[in-house]
């Protein structure tokens, strides 16, 4: 099994979600993160003092999936999240030894 993790731009979440849905992915977990990278942050000014914020709000999307579909998942996410502007983010894949669905105790493929 594989765990696909993607860091995307927040406003792309819906597009990514729909892309995964159409791919038949049944579930995913998302969270708010802050990214540092090529994309510049922004500056703020409070009473004359300038602050530079290097981090940019991003969304992390995690999808546990079969080895077989992992590649398709990566591709679907990337295609949906791409704006071709700096800061589109990353996708990486990690091997997972096993998954369990807590409710039923099912393991592996059936747990997804």
């Amino acid at each position: 099994m594989r765990l696909v993790t993607a860091i995307i731009k927040p406003f792309k979440l819906d597009a990514v979600k729909e892309a995964l849905r159409t791919l038949g992915v049944q579930g995913m977990t998302v969270s708010e993160v802050q990214g540092f990278g090529r994309q510049r942050g922004h500056t703020e000014v409070y009473r004359g003092t300038e602050y530079t914020i290097d981090f940019v709000p991003k969304i992390r999307v995690e999808v546990a999936t079969d080895d077989a579909t992992a590649g398709a998942v990566v591709q679907a996410i990337a295609d949906a999240a791409r704006t071709e502007k700096i800061g589109d983010g990353k996708v990486w894949v990690v091997a997972i030894e096993d998954v369990m669905r807590i409710r039923t105790g099912e393991m592996g493929h059936d747990a997804l």
């Binding site: 500056t43 003092t49 300038e50 530079t52 981090f55």
Partner: protein
């Protein structure tokens, strides 16, 4: 001078001043958090800019000696010249209408109306207007739109006042005026990116309810204070104001519950404000039960009115048109039915109180005149500013939010991520 009346009007001026921050929070809670400061700033800034213009010459345009035709006042009171004299009688305020308060108390009270009226517009153009363009717009708007309309309706020397049109506290001058200007402005500035397909939920309904509470409270000063005396009319206006807000809240919630299955807190807040809008022109001219009726009708009517933007495709972001324009029209016209001289001898009798359609006709005229003038001038102003400074922020700035792009600030920093560095 009567100390009781003076105390009353000064307190009322304070209450109306407090309404503008209240409006800022009412609106601010409804926008997404990336735009909350943009909204608050637009409202607070009106307290700064409009006030200065008011004392410089706008008060004089509105309440100065009529410059002819009851259309606008002269510049005799520019810089509040001579108004420090407590015995000065303002043009038209003589005889039965003579003021028993220092002229400056009247100036201050009316000033607060001039501040909040353009501020009402901010709800419609939320999330996309350049701050500089906004500043220029409201500055010109109070001069070219607010001042004349206030003169027409509020000043005893104004042409609509003379014709007998009634507006106790600003149904036409404040709410219809701002509401139709908001419509003109949204037509020119266009829709928010993503509207109506994208979800744009309120970021803090408690903030919106705070604004609602402050508005309700301040509205007592707005309406009861408009009696300019601490008398029976003021008491009637205060209780009517409260009853219309209460009944409109119920009216809105009932329709909402039937249509959507839930009575929402945003609905309660919206209904209350709609009722306050509708009762504004009527407050000192109708009885308490009519106030309940006016409120109930308005609450239901405005809930339906806010759906029109989807039908016609104008992005009135926070429903200034649906609440202030619609509510202001409903109230101004219902006054033609419910007004009663038994309540206020300085008023008139509406259709239901033996006055026939005479008053209703005058109300129609006042509504129509305000609609036309305000829409036309506001539309031209918007077009001119758009062609020069540009009304709208660039798409990327709109996506990032007004707080960062217009004001270089963020509304909230709750987290533990101390992510900044001093200096650029």
């Amino acid at each position: 001078m009567d100390t009781g009346n003076t105390a009353f009007v000064l307190a009322a001026a304070g209450l109306v001043l407090f309404m503008t921050p209240g409006l800022a929070f009412f609106y601010g809670g409804m926008v997404r958090s990336k735009n909350v400061l943009g909204m608050l700033m637009q409202n607070f800034f009106a307290m700064g800019l409009v006030s200065v213009l008011w004392v410089l010459f706008v008060f004089s345009l509105a309440f100065g000696k009529d410059a002819g035709g009851g259309f606008v006042g002269g510049l005799g009171f520019a810089g509040l010249k001579g108004l420090g004299n407590v015995n000065l009688a303002l043009p038209g305020y003589s005889g039965a209408a003579a003021l028993s308060i220092p002229p400056l108390a009247f100036v201050a009270f009316q000033l607060m109306f001039a501040v909040i009226t353009p501020a009402l517009i901010t709800g419609a153009i939320a999330d996309r207007m350049r701050f500089a363009a906004y500043a220029v717009f409201i500055g010109l708007w109070v001069v070219l739109v607010y001042a004349p309309v206030a003169h027409w309706v509020f000043s005893p020397t104004g042409w609509l006042f003379k014709r007998g049109a009634l507006d106790f506290a600003g149904g036409t001058v404040v709410h219809i005026n701002a509401g139709i200007a908001a419509l003109a402005l949204v037509i020119v500035i266009g829709k928010r990116r993503g509207w109506p397909s994208e979800v744009m939920p309120p970021h803090s309904l408690p903030l919106t309810l705070l604004g609602t509470g402050i508005l309700w409270f301040g509205w007592f000063g707005f309406n009861a204070g408009s009696s300019l005396k601490a008398d029976g009319v003021a008491a009637q206006a205060l209780i009517n104001t409260h009853m219309a807000a209460a009944a409109a809240m119920l009216g809105w919630l009932i329709v909402e519950r039937v249509k959507d299955g839930h009575a929402t807190t945003l609905g309660a807040a919206s209904g209350a404000v709609a009722g306050l809008v509708a009762i504004t022109p009527c407050a000192g001219y109708v009885g308490a039960l009519p106030a309940v009726a006016i409120g109930g009708v308005t609450g239901a009517a405005c809930f339906l009115a806010i759906q029109l933007k989807f039908r016609f495709g104008y992005d009135d972001a926070l429903d200034v048109v649906g609440v202030h324009l619609a509510g202001g029209i409903v109230g101004s016209l219902l006054l033609g039915l419910f007004a009663s001289k038994a309540i206020n001898s300085a008023g008139a009798d509406g259709l239901f109180f033996g006055g026939g359609l005479d008053l209703f006709g005058k109300q129609l005229l006042a509504v129509g005149a305000t609609l036309v003038w305000s829409f036309v001038i506001s539309f031209i102003l918007a077009k001119v500013i758009d062609a020069t400074i540009g009304l709208r922020v660039p798409p990327d700035d709109e996506a990032q939010g007004l707080d960062l792009t217009q004001h270089a600030e963020t509304g909230y920093a709750y987290g533990d991520l101390g992510m900044g560095r001093i200096g650029s």
